[in-house]
Each structure stands twice: as structure tokens, then as C-alpha cells.
């Protein structure tokens, strides 16, 4: 590990270790009931002891999140391209895109179960619904911020709308899309777990089951697994954006 990577990783690891140790001490000292707030050591214990079922649930949730993200990024980019087609399109349809931003997923999840039935399809739909707005909004901002001089250059050489979209507008919007995906990744995990509360399966059901059995330690362990999933996705999008933009974007080259 290089010193720079170490310098980047060490502070958050240090604060995590200190925070956990502090929580352990405070909970022990105040003798808090494990039903309210289990000690970090108890949570770690549960996370290891139940690793089998938790891991299987994590896999299920991860599959739903990935499918949801795939869906929201594809549909989101397509929607942004349509909205960017003309000022009329944007005025007429963008307000409906904002619907996805303000809709409470908790309220809409039962509806998704009615439409798609119990099981992974409703969960995927929930993950897609909550994660589509940042993709639309960011991609649209990118498509609309294309350098006017470059747009002139494409027109000067008789480029078709399709060629301009493919060779100028979409690549121009790529960094914006990747920023949107970073936000979408975290939201998709939330959407999937809320979807699982209603539609079944995955970490959502583990949380519900543990709650009913008053296994607060297991609830925390499941939350830990879900956080790891969110972090891994966030990291994967970050890595993808570093690879995709390594040559050109100021946010990735000037380090």
C-alpha cells in the first residue's frame, strides 16, 4: 500500500475504531438494555454467528439493487435524452420526472407489490423508482451544458442529430451521469430494502424478522451488511468514473 493510499484510508478507519470503542464503553457504563441499543461487540457477534443467512440475504438484496440500478440508469438516460430534445419537451415533461424525487417510496412500495406481485420484481421496481431521479436530473444537466462552440463545429461539418448525440452530447454528459449514479447507488439500496419490507426477501425481511423476535443485535448486523453493500456500490461507481474519465475530466485528472 502506498503512503498516499494509507493517508486516504487511515483517518476514516481510525475514527471508526475509536467511535465503536467509545460506543462499547458508554453502553457498558450506562448499562443500556440490549433491546434498545446492543453493544457493538454483541452486534459483531451476531454478524459473525448469522453470517450464513445474512450473507444469503445480502446476495438477494444486492441482485435486486444492481437490477434496479441497471433499469434506472438505462431508463433515466433515455428520459434525459428525450427531455433534452427541445425546450418544449423539458417544460412539458420534467415536472413529472420530479415526481420520482418527491414520491415517498414507503407509500408506493405496496402499489408496486400489487402491480408486480410478491418477490424480487417488486423489489427491483422499488430500487429503480427511488434511484431514477438523480440519473435523469444529472444527465439532463450534462446534455444541456454542451459547449456551444463544439455544437457549432458539429453543425458546420453537417453532423446528423444522431451523430451529435453519440459523439458529442452523451460523452459530454458522462461525468454528470456518473455523479448521478453515485447518488443513485445509495438510494437504490434504500429502495430495495423498503421494497423487501413489503415484497419479501433479502435483508429487508431479515430486519423485519429480527425486529419481531426482539433481536436488536441482528437488526444492527443487517444494517451493517446493507451499509457494506451501499459502500461497495459507491466505491464501484467511483472506480468506474476514475477509469472512464482518467484522460479528461478535471475532477479526475487534477489530483
Amino acid at each position: 500500500m502506498s503512503t498516499r493510499t494509507l493517508a486516504g484510508v487511515a483517518p476514516p478507519v481510525l475514527t471508526f475504531v475509536l467511535g465503536v470503542a467509545l460506543a462499547e464503553l458508554v453502553i457498558r457504563a450506562l448499562d443500556v438494555s440490549p433491546l434498545i441499543l446492543p453493544r457493538p461487540s454483541a452486534v459483531a457477534n451476531a454478524a459473525i454467528r448469522e453470517a450464513g443467512p445474512l450473507g444469503a440475504a445480502l446476495g438477494q438484496t444486492a441482485r435486486a439493487v444492481l437490477a434496479g440500478l441497471l433499469l434506472s440508469s438505462t431508463l433515466g438516460v433515455a428520459a434525459a435524452v428525450a427531455l433534452a430534445a427541445s425546450p418544449f419537451m423539458k417544460r412539458a415533461f420534467y415536472p413529472y420526472a420530479i415526481f420520482f424525487q418527491i414520491v415517498p417510496i414507503v407509500a408506493i412500495a405496496p402499489l408496486l407489490v400489487i402491480w408486480f406481485g410478491y418477490g424480487p420484481r417488486a423489489v427491483v421496481a422499488a430500487a429503480a423508482v427511488v434511484s431514477i431521479f438523480p440519473v435523469i436530473a444529472n444527465t439532463l444537466a450534462g446534455l444541456l451544458s454542451v459547449d456551444p462552440a463544439l455544437a457549432d463545429l458539429f453543425r458546420l461539418h453537417g453532423a446528423s442529430r444522431l451523430a451529435t448525440l453519440w459523439k458529442l452530447r452523451l460523452p459530454w454528459a458522462l461525468p454528470y451521469l456518473l455523479t448521478g449514479l453515485r447518488i443513485a447507488a445509495g438510494l437504490a439500496v434504500i429502495g430495495a430494502i423498503v421494497g423487501e419490507f413489503v415484497g419479501g426477501g433479502g435483508l429487508g425481511v431479515v430486519v423485519l424478522g429480527a425486529m419481531r423476535q426482539q433481536r436488536t443485535d441482528l437488526v444492527f448486523a443487517a444494517i451493517g451488511y446493507a451499509s457494506l453493500l451501499g459502500l461497495a456500490l459507491f466505491g464501484a461507481v467511483g472506480l468506474a468514473s476514475r477509469l472512464a474519465l482518467r484522460h479528461w475530466h478535471a475532477s479526475e485528472t487534477k489530483r
Binding site: L150, D152, L156, K167, L168, P171, L245, H247, W248
Partner: protein, 252 residues
């Protein structure tokens, strides 16, 4: 000298509507004829409508009144700043116009490499814009404009953002390319010195809305070098142009 007319503007008017609904006239009755093979500088204050004029000549915009005729054939354009695609290396950037025109990959690569060589960027063909200096980026932009072998080259204050030395080097480069390729050049600038040094003919525009204040044939030798800038003949040209700019600024 009797040369074919490459560009003709007759009574060209162009007005823009501002956000608040007011009308901002950019061009108010411009007449201008440029002969094939001429190097013409359009000199005027910033924001006077020079860029609008250039976009009209390129066919990227239309006048409300008047006519813009261009018999120049293929057009190349260089903008303020280089405006390269950051995700493409220099070679792919320079080849872009050929790609848009639907040329074959092998032909694109060969012609782009030749254009890159022409502007002296030969060893940077595989580098990305983010890795180049401002001057090198502008050279790449120039190569991109030349790659289609245009008959008319339009430049919109291309070297304004560069340092003095780089700018002078590129001025010389541009004159060399113009003399070698025999193309028509329309060069927009707000720099009196650059207009006098580069062009055979300088058209001075007034402040907005742009009108032609002076159409002036530069009395300097065809062979120009940096030492020219220190000669009395050059200073005389500067005086003439400066005087015309002042008159243009005083117009209502």
C-alpha cells in the same frame, strides 16, 4: 488584381432578443466583399458583433435582412479557446471533421496525421487535451480546422487567451499556412497589432451595432517577421487602425 469573390455580405442586419424582451442589434447594415485568397482581419472592440458576423459567414446563423453569399467551398473554423473534445486524443480530435463527413478510417488517420504535422504537433498526436499547454491545444484546434483542406478559414479571436510569445509564434505559423495553402482567411480580433501584422486587409468595425468604419489595405511586405513590429511602417499602420477604432467608438 482581379480575383474571384469568395464571400459577399450585402446590407446584413442581425438583431438578438434579450431576456427582458428588448432588442439588441448586433449588425446594422454590413457590406463586405472578400476575394478568394485574401487574408482579411476584422478588427473591432469586444462584444461588437464580430463573432456574429463570422457565424453568418459560416452558415451557422441567418441575417434578418440582407444577403450572405459564400462561394468559398469548404469552411474550417477556429474558435476562441481550443474547444477540443477532452475524451479524445489529439489525433482523434483532429480527425473529427473527417469522421463527421463520413470519410474512411484509414483516410481520416492519414489526413489527420498530416494536419498535425503541418502545425508542428507531430510528437503529441497521442496525447489528450488535458496534458497539453494552451498553445499546443490551439495548434491542435488549428489542425482540426485545416484537416478538411478548407478553401475558407474562419478564426474567432483564436489566440486571445495565449501568452504573448506563443501568440506571436502562432501568428507566424498562420501566415505561413495561409501563404502555402492559398486559402481565404477571415480573422476576427480586437488586437490592433495582431490585425496589422497578420492581414493584407483590415476591416475596422464600430462598437455595437457593428458597422464598417474603415476598409484598409495594409501597406506592409508579404514577408513578415517579428522585427517588422519595430519598424516605422508598422507603427504607421497601427496609427491608422487605432484612429479608425476611436472613430468607431464615438459613433452613436
Amino acid at each position: 488584381m482581379d480575383r474571384a469573390v469568395a464571400i459577399a455580405l450585402e446590407g446584413v442586419h442581425r438583431t438578438f432578443r434579450s431576456e427582458s424582451g428588448g432588442e439588441v442589434p448586433a449588425l446594422a447594415g454590413i457590406d463586405l466583399a472578400v476575394a478568394a485568397g485574401e487574408f482579411v482581419a476584422l478588427l473591432g472592440p469586444s462584444g461588437c458583433g464580430k463573432s456574429t458576423l463570422l457565424r453568418l459567414v459560416a452558415g451557422l446563423d441567418r441575417p434578418e435582412r440582407g444577403a450572405v453569399r459564400s462561394a468559398a467551398g469548404r469552411v474550417g473554423m477556429v474558435f476562441q479557446d481550443a474547444h477540443l473534445l477532452p475524451w479524445r486524443d489529439v489525433l482523434a480530435n483532429v480527425a473529427l471533421p473527417l469522421e463527421l463527413l463520413g470519410r474512411r478510417p484509414a483516410e481520416r488517420r492519414a489526413q489527420a496525421a498530416a494536419a498535425i504535422e503541418q502545425v508542428g504537433l507531430g510528437d503529441a498526436a497521442e496525447r489528450y487535451p488535458a496534458e497539453l499547454s494552451g498553445g499546443m491545444r490551439m495548434r491542435a484546434s488549428l489542425a482540426r480546422a485545416l484537416v478538411t483542406e478548407p478553401r475558407l478559414l474562419l478564426l474567432d479571436e483564436p489566440f486571445a487567451a495565449l501568452d504573448e510569445l506563443t501568440r506571436m509564434a502562432l501568428d507566424d505559423e498562420l501566415r505561413r499556412l495561409w501563404r502555402a495553402a492559398g486559402l481565404t482567411v477571415l480573422f476576427v480580433t480586437h488586437s490592433i497589432g495582431e490585425a496589422a501584422y497578420l492581414a493584407e486587409r483590415v476591416v475596422v468595425l464600430s462598437r455595437r451595432p457593428a458597422r464598417v468604419v474603415l476598409d484598409h489595405a495594409v501597406a506592409l511586405p508579404a514577408e513578415r517577421a517579428a522585427t517588422l513590429r519595430a519598424e516605422p511602417a508598422f507603427a504607421r499602420e497601427l496609427g491608422v487602425l487605432q484612429d479608425a477604432l476611436r472613430r468607431g467608438a464615438a459613433l452613436p
